[in-house]
């Protein structure tokens, strides 16, 4: 199951890795950048889907409809 931390970490890692790749290999292996950004777009689309019907499948059912039970 995904956590907020892991999703943010993966997204930031992908973007920074892309920036690093562009700086070092952006001219020599330019075509590969197209496919790397394509992969990043797939990931962002997957995050978009987490707000839709796949939300419960990925993150599990919500705890008590989002309310936190008060302790006595």
């Amino acid at each position: 199951m995904l956590t907020l931390f892991s999703v943010r970490l993966l997204t930031n890692t992908m973007i920074f890795a892309l920036a690093l790749y562009a700086a070092v290999y952006g001219v020599t292996y330019a075509y590969r950048m197209h496919y790397l950004v394509n992969a990043l777009c797939f990931w962002l689309y997957a995050i978009h889907l987490t707000n839709g019907p796949l939300k419960q499948w990925i993150f599990g059912p919500p705890l008590m409809d989002g309310h936190v039970k008060k302790r006595p």
Partner: protein
């Protein structure tokens, strides 16, 4: 746009891509669509002056900048293809007709064209962490 219409347009684009059009052409079309999305998002943000609309505009604008930087990589192939069409030199199906090379862009641009902002990811672990922090 309704969902069946969007699915129809996407299916038509995929079919054209598989048969005759190189993915670079589809990518150029997606860049134009993204420019339209950015313009609509900016108009909406300037009209409502809400933080949410400005957030969506900044997100759309960031993705447009991404795509515009990748565009020069794809332009030479597109120029060659248009030249081949002009001299009526029909090439057989080649590796340029690859749906997977541009599917991520298609899905994301299509999602953003519906003005859907990328959601803030929440999870049970976040709720658990909040509870734990409150007790400490």
């Amino acid at each position: 746009m309704s969902i069946p219409l969007r699915v129809t347009i996407l299916g038509l684009l995929a079919m054209l891509l598989a048969i005759c059009v190189p993915y670079q052409f589809v990518y150029t079309v997606l860049c134009i669509v993204q420019i339209g999305t950015c313009i609509r998002a900016l108009k909406s943000a300037m009209h409502t002056q809400s933080a949410q609309d400005y957030n969506f505009y900044n997100y759309a604008h960031s993705m447009l900048v991404f795509m515009l930087w990748i565009l020069p990589i794809n332009m030479p192939v597109l120029v060659v293809w248009i030249h081949n069409l002009a001299v009526q030199w029909m090439m057989p199906i080649s590796s340029r007709n690859n749906l997977m090379s541009v599917l991520g862009y298609i899905l994301l641009v299509e999602m953003m064209s519906t003005s859907a902002m990328i959601p803030r990811v929440t999870s049970r672990s976040v709720l658990f962490a909040n509870d734990f922090a409150r007790q400490c």
